[in-house]
Subunit: 293 residues, 2 copies
DNA sequence: GATATCTATACGCTGAGCGTATGCATGACG
DNA sequence: CGTCATGCATACGCTCAGCGTATAGATATC
């Protein structure tokens, strides 16, 4: 009943039988004996515990479940072919994983400048829930993160530093200033949202550390702040990702900047590694003047 | 180099090594010896002709292509699991293939009435290029077609008859009538579009059979007719699929109606077969009053 | 430099999977 | 209605792919 007893051989056999119309012709197409085809399909049916093909003496027709399995079998085989092509083709491609909160507003400029500078290699920006998982699963070649991954398998390099912004209700007295300091926020409640990685209370000196409440998601976070129930602090790219009427963002002058890092598998530089590193660094250095709008 | 030398065993092995971090741990996870894991991965690399993993003495990291192959391998294995689930779950589902020209405007009413009458079984309407190919490939369980498939593997049943409509330029004198007859079209050029299955000249008695021109696609067809260069004839459902300013459709009173059929694999009734047959029949019998808008 | 850890290779063995041969069911045909 | 042709299933023996055990080689750690 476990997957383990399924085999590509069996799937190829099923497909061939349906395509050729008979076990005998499938055997010829597969370069096998008719007996082998018969046994192989029987083993597949036994493994799945379902009859897949109805054999009449003159022709063979798939059962209802056989038809569903057939479609899925084709999908599997197509994926295998794609895997082989992926492995053997020299086509250049780089897939960069990112969480919303990290790459933020630079996604557009990044893609535009990349295709301008490196028309030969495709750039894929793939959204991942966890950057380390994205690398570990092979979903991306490089990954944009904030904190160094706590995983010895990966290396990271800083590509930029960003200011911290304080999220305030639009009618907050502080909203009239161009920037604030940590001390200005004494006595406020700090809302944090771990999923998007907003700043933690460790930013503050211990004596003026604010009270903390957690929110369930970004929308919660934005709502409570817009309602004036407290403040939030977040990195610049993240803030730009979540504009909202009723909320203004102001730089926190004395909060230490937060890093943006590129992460990759240790000791295995992707061909485009250096180019990505340089472009990202430049992107965060030149900030929003880089080529937006 | 051919797909044939790839094996699910090898893919499971690759995934386990990356997930576990070492060959040794992967062996434990797979219930194999370390030697077996080493050989299996080596055989995969040999089959693909590419190095997938870089072995250092302390840890193992995927190469650039290894990472891509890894992602694809996960996809293959996920599809296999899906295949097993598909085969063993008793979840009721019926997938109906259709070409635009056949099911036409009834798609919405069909889905609405189905879910109302049979909430237990999912209905999937899948667009197929060729209804017979859709059945043969397992992409759908039942298929809506016009002509009986010229394939002994499939059976068809008529679910309805539809009027033929004549497509005319809006400023055509005939457009002022509520309906036309074949004889009214004498001397016109008949445009046909084989891809959408518009009516052929056999509709006419031999003595008044019109001149014929073929178009490349539906858009062509609509354009030349709107321009007044000739006329077209098509089934009612098809016509409703392609409304266009500048074109009016009028019933052809003496043209024999065209059938709509349901097709399926011979001798293997899908559980929902009868229900689909009845609903479709009813849909085409009651026409547009069925439940639209 | 000794040690621990991990991968690669050698060797012998077992069983999955193959082909050949044959039995059985069924539609075709006279 | 009997014979034949066609096509799937099963039996039997064989071969080699893939396994485990054992061991050598490589490298970080102490």
């Amino acid at each position: 009943m476990h997957d383990a007893d399924i085999d590509l051989r069996q799937l190829r056999c099923l497909v061939a039988i349906v395509d050729e119309g008979t076990f005998t012709d499938a055997a010829i197409a597969l370069g096998l004996s008719q007996a082998a085809v018969s046994r192989t399909l029987a083993s597949l049916e036994r493994a799945l515990g379902v009859r897949l093909l109805r054999r009449t003496s003159r022709e063979v027709t798939p059962t209802a479940t056989g038809l569903r399995v057939l479609a899925q079998a084709r999908r599997v085989l197509a994926d295998v072919s794609e895997l082989v092509r992926e492995a053997t083709s020299g086509h250049e491609r780089v897939r960069i994983g990112y969480a919303w909160s990290a790459l933020g507003r630079h996604t557009v400029a990044f893609q535009r400048r990349w295709t301008a500078a490196h028309p030969g290699t495709d750039l894929h920006l793939v959204r991942v829930n966890s950057p380390s998982a994205g690398l570990a699963e092979g979903a991306c070649d490089l990954s944009v993160v904030r904190r160094p991954l706590g995983d010895r398998r990966f290396d990271t390099a800083i590509v930029g530093l960003e200011r911290r912004l304080c999220a305030l209700a639009a009618d907050d007295p502080l909203a009239r200033r161009r920037s604030v300091r940590l001390a200005d926020l004494t006595g406020r409640t700090l809302f944090i949202d771990r999923r998007t990685g907003t700043a933690t209370p460790e930013l503050w000196p211990p004596d003026i550390r604010p009270a903390v409440e957690e929110t369930h998601d970004v929308d919660d976070w934005l709502t409570v702040i817009a309602a004036g129930r407290g403040i939030g602090v977040t990195a610049e790219s993240t803030a730009n990702q979540y504009p909202r009427p009723g909320i203004v963002y102001r730089p926190v002058r004395d909060a230490e900047p937060v890093a943006v890092r590129l992460a990759w598998w240790r000791g295995d530089p992707h061909p485009a590694h250096q180019a990505v590193l340089e472009l990202l660094t430049d992107l965060y250095r030149t900030g929003r003047a880089a080529g937006e709008g």
